[in-house]
Amino acid sequence: MGRYLLKRLPQGMVVIFGVTVFVFIVTRVVGDPVKFMLPLSATAEQRAAQRHVMGLDRPILAQFWSFLGDVIHLDFGTSTYVRGKAALSVVFDYLPRTLQLVAAGMVLAVVLSIPLGLLASRKPGGALDRALTSLSLVGLSMPQFFLGSVLVIAFTVKLQWFQTGVGPLHRHLVLPAVCLALPAVGRLAMLVRSSMIDELNSQYVKVLKAKGMPARRILAVHALRNAGIPYVTLLGWEIIRALAGFTVVVESVFAWPGIGFMAKQAIAQQDFYLIQAIVFVVAVMVVVLNILIDVSYKLLDPRVTLR
């Protein structure tokens, strides 16, 4: 375990570094924060002056070195969109909302996908299986912005059961969490279904039956634990996908003020500093999650050695 971490931590740092550099390059190539910082009426000289103040007129390499120096001290500069605030602390202001949304979405995904997958696997090819499989396909192939819009129109505008934005959890968190969860439920339930079918047809299950083990124990202890291995891998990916991308769409559609929502604003406003800070934090979370996935693998499967 210690040796594993000793190897994975530097690897993770390289990934985080690579992503950070990449975002630095992309933002410098495409954007100019000054454009949105000053009023439209600002003159070219005023803009140039502002650029000079921010050091954006220096050669790109010089900018890069000072950027690296700052990043090592976890200084991502001052946000231009949320004026005057350190970019990283803006991220930390909004991160809890995102974590709340992702946690709610993923708990929902787990709570729905396991029973649905188990139900479908009970009689492969049966009516229930076919219905659930089609439903899963619909769920996982629905673009999230579309799904989100439908949910907003149906439940917020028409029925007025829920509201967008923030507020009491039951009125505000439910819809975005559902929207984030549904495609994941589709994929996870399909996985539960197919791995349970495989496990229940496996030789060791036949041996368990021959031993006289009750069906309940075979299902809940033996087969489910084996099916848990691919499930944990996919769930890890779902969490990563949600954190690193889907929240942008979902948070925007539901005006949920998390880092996905902020990322969209930062891009629209070409706020380099905020973009870089968001990407950095997301990269760190992804690296940590990957390590957690590996560790949970080890906990579930004695054949796995972490190296």
Partner: protein
């Protein structure tokens, strides 16, 4: 209300079918035999003849798309197939145990050997975790595993194929069953290990007095181990005789062919050399004798109507219109022929 006079196990006119996309596979067709207390019955036949399906049907282990479509299996005179399955649930793993063909996939990779043997004891003997563990170590010792105290906490992937098969045998013996069904317990193992496992089964049988249904390709195994032998061909039993009769005076041409393709009975050979031709498709089995197409002695009668399994004068049962006579010259002598 068990019948004390009834044989341990009676299989009566058993039929098993698989309803597949290709059609209905008639895997077991009217199979009947008995096993007495402490007896070893061999079940031999080519690949696909229905040995495993028969064995699994006895324990109610036929899964979809398969189904037992007829006949009965009686344990101490009571039907295992009728009723709500409570007898079957009680008997499985406790009174009848089974060892399968493939030790590599027969254990759950995520649990220790101790847990997997222990759960049988905990279920059927209501043992505590600690008591079960002590008993598991004894069992592992009984089946000849070295360091049982250490093995008990190992996972299947830490054991070799031969060791896993010993574990599976220990698991089968955990509740001291009256019948052990061994479905080709050695085919997946290499030759020296094969011999050890067979010796182990023979030894345990003597010590514990259990009956064994030994399923095998390998007539060498049968010769060394079995009291009686049932020869199976395309889902039917074609000959049922004492091991001695079968080896010296096979009555069915298929049995004779099987023997002819076994060069020396005292040597364990990995697989039978096949008889010319191949068995019929079980989706549409022939109306007459299934072996007729491959039989040198076949007549019109053989092709047109199916011979029943009938007693011969010497007490054996044969399903053949033209069986070799018990008195006549033995058509085959052991040792004749080659591979």
């Amino acid at each position: 209300m068990t019948d004390a006079d009834a044989p341990l196990l009676q299989v009566k006119h058993l039929f098993v079918k698989f309803f597949t996309r290709r059609g209905t596979v008639h895997a077991v067709r009217d199979v009947s035999f008995d096993i007495a207390r402490g007896e070893t019955l061999g079940l031999v036949g080519e690949s696909g003849s229905g040995k495993s399906v028969t064995a699994q049907a006895l324990m109610g282990l036929i899964d979809l798309p398969g189904r037992i479509t007829g006949g009965d299996v009686r344990w101490h005179g009571q039907s295992l197939l009728e009723g709500d399955g409570s007898l079957l649930r009680r008997v499985r793993g406790q009174e009848i145990a089974m060892v399968f063909q493939d030790p590599m996939t027969s254990l759950n990779p995520l649990f220790t050997v101790g847990t997997q043997i222990g759960e049988v004891l905990r279920r059927h003997r209501k043992m505590t975790r600690a008591a079960a563990r002590t008993r598991v170590i004894e069992l592992l010792d009984l089946v000849g595993l070295s360091n049982p105290g250490q093995r008990v906490d190992q996972y299947p992937h830490e054991l070799s194929g031969g060791m896993r098969q010993r574990v599976l045998i220990a698991m089968a013996l955990a509740c001291e069953p009256q019948l052990l069904i061994a479905d080709e317990p050695t085919t997946a193992l290499d030759v020296t290990i094969q011999a050890q496992i067979l010796e182990l089964i023979a030894d345990l049988q003597q010590r514990l007095g259990l009956a064994v249904l030994m399923i095998t390709h390998d007539l060498g195994v049968v010769a060394g181990l079995c009291d009686r032998v049932a020869v199976m061909y395309s889902g039917k039993i074609v000959e049922l005789a004492t091991a001695d009769d079968l080896f010296h005076r096979p009555a069915h041409p298929y049995s004779a062919g099987l023997l002819r393709s076994t060069p020396r009975l005292d040597v364990v050979i990995p697989r039978l050399v096949s008889i010319e031709g191949s068995p019929p498709d079980l989706v549409s089995p022939p109306v007459g004798c299934a072996f007729a197409e491959r039989c040198h002695l076949a007549t019109e009668e053989c092709r047109e109507s199916m011979p029943g399994l009938h007693f011969q004068d010497d007490g054996r049962k044969v399903a053949c219109w033209r069986p070799f006579e018990a008195e006549g010259p033995a058509p085959v002598t052991a040792g004749e022929g080659g591979r």
